[in-house]
Symmetry: C2
Subunit: 561 residues, 2 copies
């Protein structure tokens, strides 16, 4: 029998491209009545439908073209979560341009840096954020044009000379713009990492990566986005595609509720009640503040069935508070800007669903199983696989269709990318025999004491489980004897009983060895923790404070010499 | 300000390919303990895990290579649903070859035709189906090699001379086969349409189309395949990828239960009870026979939460029986071999969930909303869009990443494919304002009476709603006065009260105009309906019977002249 030479044969299926505009077209065709509710600056709520969205996106596409935007150009946004930001999410990629969502909490020099590095030709800025944008672009050699977006029906002030009014350019545009053909591998959006070390680095998402990522977030076993839920992304749209949820909502027809600039506990609680939100998505702090608020204030949040929590490890106390006191399902997820961002979700396996409550809560403190499409390994310093027994921990490396292969305008040989095609997350993790992944720490946050590692997250969670503690952060303090020692920064609950350092240390004895404990003088009671631009606890600042304090005492020592 | 010339910029995300072996790798890594239960010929159940599956697939990949199979070669299967068929589902595409799943119910000449047309080099046949395979390949110029698969632990007879024993070649292979790099656009499997008109036509699926289709079946809002469910595909694995469910199960870690050759009501009921099946998937006849059986026989099917039903329009009576009498959720889906096959699923929108029961059941008789990724339109004879108001009906055309663009070894200009990139389904459908699609008929099954259309499916459903009727088929009979008139073939329930034609016609008066009704002599009571190779009612045979009867009476008339 003659044999072929072994040539792959192409399939005979349609070459349909996985692009952002196809999501919009689906939303408008299959779910035209689905609502998009946006909190305005004055706390009123504006309601649109997917049918409105579609018409306004077509107008925005036309307006962008009139502003001179061409395929491959970058358009920046500087905005809260709103229906207008959603319009940009669809319109910019739909004409083949790239939406650069600028983190509004960046420092002024970083803002300027990312706008210049991203080569934005136009910046769309919320009216309340306009001053920051103008400051950032002033004096640039090639400053981008500025479009001002109202945070309600209309602007409250005149637009500055040379700038445009969002609603005016939409009104002047035409609504029968055509969708150009776009390859799914084209760039669609750009987001910079928070840049806690060095300059922010850009991740250039493709249509394909955004599509596949958002599709995966609709799987019953990942984030489970579905039509029957009203979804409130509190996670900012300027941060890692708001976890892909705006597009997932388009794919499934889920209703959206955007909080605008009102993301404190009280207005969020009010919005849940008012818009009958079923599912919220945000970082641990958002939910911690919300549920703490709800312990003392009356709101009808009976519509809220579940919260999706990511961006930082969720402490056990928060999971217990959410599930046991409020009966709201807590879905713990993990991701990074470089992973679009969702990499894992803690959907319990069937075999674990009937375990005792305590064990289930323990499992929910894990970051969970990799979502379909993402491969995960833990490796040692030499890059060799470590056992997945729940005891070994090492650096987490990932790969998949929505993982970055290099940073924008940087080398593919950057140390974050291995030569065999994996992304080094910088997170230290263990993976247990059932596949649940647990982030132990950021590798740079681990504390090496007497030659052994102490995981800062574990100590933070233990501190947060004390009834008087709202939140805690633990960092390494240089220590002559131990090498490094843990130093804790603790925020107490407003209504809490007073507590002393020695009591917290005693509380930590339940979970830590004696040699791992901080000393009394290493427990710092503070009113609030410093945050990075994406709302994570800024440990760099805390380490700086410790260093400053040490230097001061050194200086005092020196001057007392 | 200088503007770019408008060149699309490529994104900077990993080029991970969407291929079948990545599904297997996920199943083995994240869900190694998930079970695969297979009914053996002797009615015992064999249990494997994903970990076993992985090891056996590696061995099978090695064995295939030893049999001389190279990338691009075709390997045929001729088998029931079983763990060995699942091993072929993974192993053949994983070495870059193409798995041709041959419909075991094809007529002998069609079997031979598709094996030759598909250019199979090896055929894997279940032992009980071996005779049919040997008959099909006998005398071929280039006969494929034959591998015999046990339907239990071992074969019950010696393999014929020259054939191979599946378990023997696995045992002789090595388990450390490497996965070659495969482009997602490579062909992975091949399935022929049932060929009710003309020769069967082959659909050549790519890795990408299989992957995206199965991923979509895991969306909460489509088929919702999930880890917590034990899934029993009764739909044959030789028919349109068993709706992608074997791969969806791999992606999510859902447990699988395969019925083997035992697909009658009693063994299926027994299997549900024994393996605690949560979700079944099959054609309407499977569920109708199962629930009719359960009305009169005791089985504990309390584990069964839902059934997915497709392959033919589900009658209202079946939906009512399933949901109201058995409390099992009924999910109505629609698809075609050319669509991989899933095109739509009737997941009710949130706005419809609180409607009265009757209205919800009516909605569930619809084939539902297009699944994400599939675009649908209804068009008139000239190809122009018809209003989606629920009243207009026209030919359903679809497109998407898992829709065929041409048939295997045929022209892309075949009439099934429009010049602007849509697939003509041959189904006549309406789409209502909420987006729910309803198949009215196959275009060739519509009855044109007095210049107006009568939908055969509507009349079949009305007949099936009579308490004595098990199932019914309606076809056109040539009629001198009316052009065409409906003729009904009716199967009564075993325990039913006797019923006369006139009573059924009276029953039809509730839903049809007088001019649309069949005459008494056009109601044919039969013991069973003829089926096509994929289990659909074979209307071609029924039309032939009417024609024969007409000819006979013509001849009688002639001879009595």
């Amino acid at each position: 029998m003659a044999h072929s030479i072994g040539k792959f044969v192409p399939g005979l299926m349609m070459d349909s491209q996985l692009t952002v505009p196809t999501i919009l077209q689906r939303a408008a065709t299959v779910y035209p009545q689905t609502t998009i509710q946006s909190r305005c600056a004055d706390l009123t709520v504006a309601t649109h439908t997917n049918a409105h969205l579609y018409e306004r996106v077509l107008r925005l596409m036309s307006a962008l073209t009139q502003l001179g935007i061409r395929p491959g150009d970058t358009v920046a946004s500087f905005a809260w979560n709103s229906h207008r930001h959603l319009e940009l999410y669809y319109a910019v990629p739909s004409i083949g341009a790239v939406l650069h969502t600028v983190n509004i909490r960046l420092f002024p020099d970083q803002r300027r840096y990312v706008l210049e590095h991203g080569e934005a030709r136009v910046v769309f800025a919320d009216e309340s954020l306009l001053a920051a944008v103008i400051e950032a672009v002033e004096g640039m050699a090639n400053p981008p044009e500025v479009v001002v977006m109202p945070e309600g029906p209309t602007l409250t002030a005149d637009v500055p000379c040379g700038a445009h009014n969002y609603e005016a350019i939409l009104a002047a545009s035409n609504a029968d713009e055509q969708f150009p053909n776009i390859s799914e591998n084209s760039a669609a959006s750009l987001c910079y990492t928070s840049g806690t070390t060095g300059e922010p680095k850009g991740v250039l998402y493709s249509h394909r990566s955004l599509y596949l990522h958002s599709l995966t977030c609709c799987m019953a076993d990942s984030l489970g986005v579905r039509e029957s839920e009203t979804l409130m992304p509190v996670v900012p749209m300027f941060h890692a595609n708001a976890w892909g949820l705006p597009y997932s909502a388009g794919m499934t027809g889920a209703a959206l509720v955007f909080p605008g600039s009102h993301i404190a506990a009280r207005p969020v609680a009010d919005l849940i009640e008012r818009c009958k939100v079923n599912c919220g998505a945000g970082v641990p702090t958002v939910w911690n503040l919300l549920f703490q608020h709800l312990l003392h204030h009356q709101h009808d949040i009976s519509s809220l069935k579940r919260v999706i929590c990511g961006g930082a490890a969720a402490p056990r106390a928060l999971i217990e508070l959410t599930e046991q006191q409020f009966g709201v399902e807590f879905l713990h997820a993990w991701g990074m800007t470089e992973i679009s961002p969702v990499g894992s979700a803690c959907v319990l396996k069937a075999a674990d669903l009937h375990k005792p409550l305590e064990e289930r809560i323990t499992l929910k403190t894990r970051q969970g199983l990799p979502v379909n499409g993402v491969e995960m390994r833990i490796v040692d310093d030499a890059g060799s696989d470590l056992p997945t027994d729940g005891n070994h921990f090492g650096e987490l490396v990932v790969r998949g269709p929505w993982v970055a292969k290099q940073y924008f305008k940087r080398s593919p040989e950057d140390p974050e990318f291995t030569s065999d095609g994996w992304f080094r997350t910088g997170d230290v993790a263990s993976i247990d025999a059932s596949g649940y992944m647990l982030i132990t720490d950021r590798s740079k946050d681990m504390i090496k004491s007497r030659g052994e590692w102490i995981a800062s997250i574990a100590m933070e969670n233990a501190l947060a489980s004390h009834p008087s503690v709202l939140e805690a952060a633990v960092v390494a303090r240089p220590d002559e004897l131990r090498g490094e020692a843990p130093a804790a920064f603790v925020v107490l609950k407003q209504e809490a009983q007073p507590v002393r350092a020695i009591q917290l240390i005693s509380h930590l004895r339940n979970s830590f060895e004696r040699w791992q404990l901080p000393r009394s003088k290493d427990i710092h009671f503070v009113g609030a923790l410093p945050r990075t631009s994406v709302g994570k606890i800024d440990k760099k600042v805390l380490r700086g404070q410790i260093k400053d304090a040490a230097n001061t005492s050194q200086e005092q020592l020196a001057s007392s010499d």
